[in-house]
Each structure stands twice: as structure tokens, then as C-alpha cells.
């Protein structure tokens, strides 16, 4: 991976994620986030933890789906 990422404005990552979000169904939430940032609002620790809880839940559901698939494969 190139070293350019070290000098990249982190806002760029945020905007790029918006593009990606269009494809995974979270565009509305990301848009609200961007608007809040533009309005100078602060993202709280609780919001960060809530977002990670969403990831944990999604990962758990993924793992369950994989486990179910394996069970079906062995039946």
C-alpha cells in the first residue's frame, strides 16, 4: 500500500465511504452524519459505541448464517 494514505485528508475517506454506502443500504444514515459534521456537531462516544454494536450484531448474524449453512450441508 502506498504512503500517500498518510497525507490524505481524512474527509476524503468519509466522502468515499458515502459512495460505498449507496451500495450497501446505509446512504441515508451516512448523509445525516455528513450533514452533522458540516454543521459543526460533535460525534459522541456513545454514538461511536452504538455504531460498533451494530457491527457486532451484523457479525453475529453472519456467523449464525454460516453455521446454519454448515448444518444443512451435513444433514
Amino acid at each position: 500500500m502506498g504512503s500517500d494514505i498518510d497525507n490524505m485528508d481524512i474527509n476524503t475517506v468519509l466522502l468515499v465511504l458515502r459512495l460505498v454506502a449507496e451500495g450497501v443500504g446505509v446512504a441515508g444514515e451516512i448523509q445525516k452524519l455528513v450533514e452533522r459534521v458540516l454543521n459543526g456537531e460533535t460525534i459522541t462516544d456513545e454514538e461511536i459505541q452504538h455504531a460498533r454494536a451494530e457491527v457486532r450484531q451484523a457479525v453475529s448474524q453472519f456467523d449464525n448464517a454460516v453455521a446454519d449453512r454448515k448444518k444443512k450441508g451435513t444433514n
Partner: protein, 178 residues
């Protein structure tokens, strides 16, 4: 600046559609190897490409099945499409916390889509194993990233690692839609 704030939703939608079209175009386009063409790509565009977890000069070392050499071409097309926006001065304010939250949300959304694809038998056993490794890697990176942000440390290394993982997962997700 006001125009961008008022139209950012439509802009993102258009760029998102462009991104989807770019994937189709890339599937039919060979990877550009011309060094001269690479020199013309600005440092900024290379940095933007890195957000997709792609190094324009070295490409992707390990690609999910079906991705071929699409990565480089896709990055160039998407980066070029975003250049007019990103060249506007002061268009977006900086917020590492918002970036972290957005990354979590996109990652969760991607995993939800992949879960649907797994239930629909879109992947074989080997692919599911690879995807599972990436899912758990991504979760770990996000946890480390969060810890860094809460400590006030530089989060860029974690953003870079996360971009790599997310890019690979998104290729699987896109593959499942084909």
C-alpha cells in the same frame, strides 16, 4: 460550498451510480499498465485510491474470485469522477469520529448484505471461509480504530487497514449480485 451542502445527497447518488457502472465497464476493460498514464494520476488520486484499499502501482495482492484485475481500472474511473468535487476548497470539514462511525455503518451494512448472500447460497465453502476471515479481521480493526480515536491517537493506520478489508468484502458483495 452552499451548493455542495444542498446537493450532496444527489451528488453522492450520482457518484454511487457511476461507481456501479464503473464496475461493469471495468469487467470489460484490461488493467492499465502504462507508466506514463500512471504518472499523470495525481498524488491526490493515488491517496483516494488507497481509500479503496488499492495501490495503483502495485494492485491487489490477493483478489477474491471473480475480481480479476478490475481493481486498478475501477479506482482510476471512480477517482477521476470525484476529482471535480474534491478540488473544491473547504468543501468538507474534518472529523475523525464521524469517519469512524461511518466506517462502522458501512461495514455493518456490507456484512448484512453478505449474510443475505450466504443464506441464498451465493458462495461456495472456500469463499465463505475467506469472507469470514475478512469479516472478523474488519471487526477487530474497527475495535482497534475506536480505541485509538478515544485515546486521541492517529487513526490513519487503522483507516488504511480497514479500507483494505472493506474493499475485499465489497468485491464479494458485488459478486453476489451478479
Amino acid at each position: 460550498m452552499e451548493w455542495l451542502q444542498e446537493n450532496i445527497g444527489q451528488l453522492a447518488t450520482l457518484l454511487g451510480l457511476f461507481y456501479a457502472v464503473a464496475r461493469i465497464v471495468v469487467a470489460l476493460t484490461p488493467t492499465p499498465k502504462d507508466d506514463k498514464a500512471m504518472k499523470e494520476v495525481s498524488v491526490f488520486l493515488r491517496a483516494l485510491a488507497a481509500a479503496f484499499g488499492l495501490d495503483l502501482k502495485q494492485g491487489i495482492e490477493k483478489k477474491p474470485p471473480g475480481s480479476g484485475t478490475a481493481g486498478k481500472s475501477l479506482t482510476l474511473i471512480v477517482c477521476l469522477s470525484m476529482l471535480p468535487i474534491m478540488s473544491m476548497p473547504g468543501c468538507i470539514t474534518s472529523d475523525v469520529r464521524a469517519n469512524l462511525v461511518a466506517s462502522n455503518k458501512v461495514f455493518a451494512g456490507t456484512i448484512r448484505m453478505l449474510t443475505i448472500a450466504v443464506k441464498a447460497d451465493e458462495f461456495d465453502d472456500q469463499e465463505i471461509e475467506q469472507i469470514s476471515v475478512l469479516v472478523h479481521q474488519g471487526e477487530k480493526i474497527l475495535a482497534d480504530w475506536e480505541a485509538a480515536v478515544l485515546r486521541g491517537d492517529d487513526p490513519v493506520p487503522y483507516a488504511e487497514l480497514f479500507s483494505n478489508v472493506l474493499d475485499r468484502l465489497l468485491l464479494y458483495e458485488a459478486q453476489s449480485r451478479e
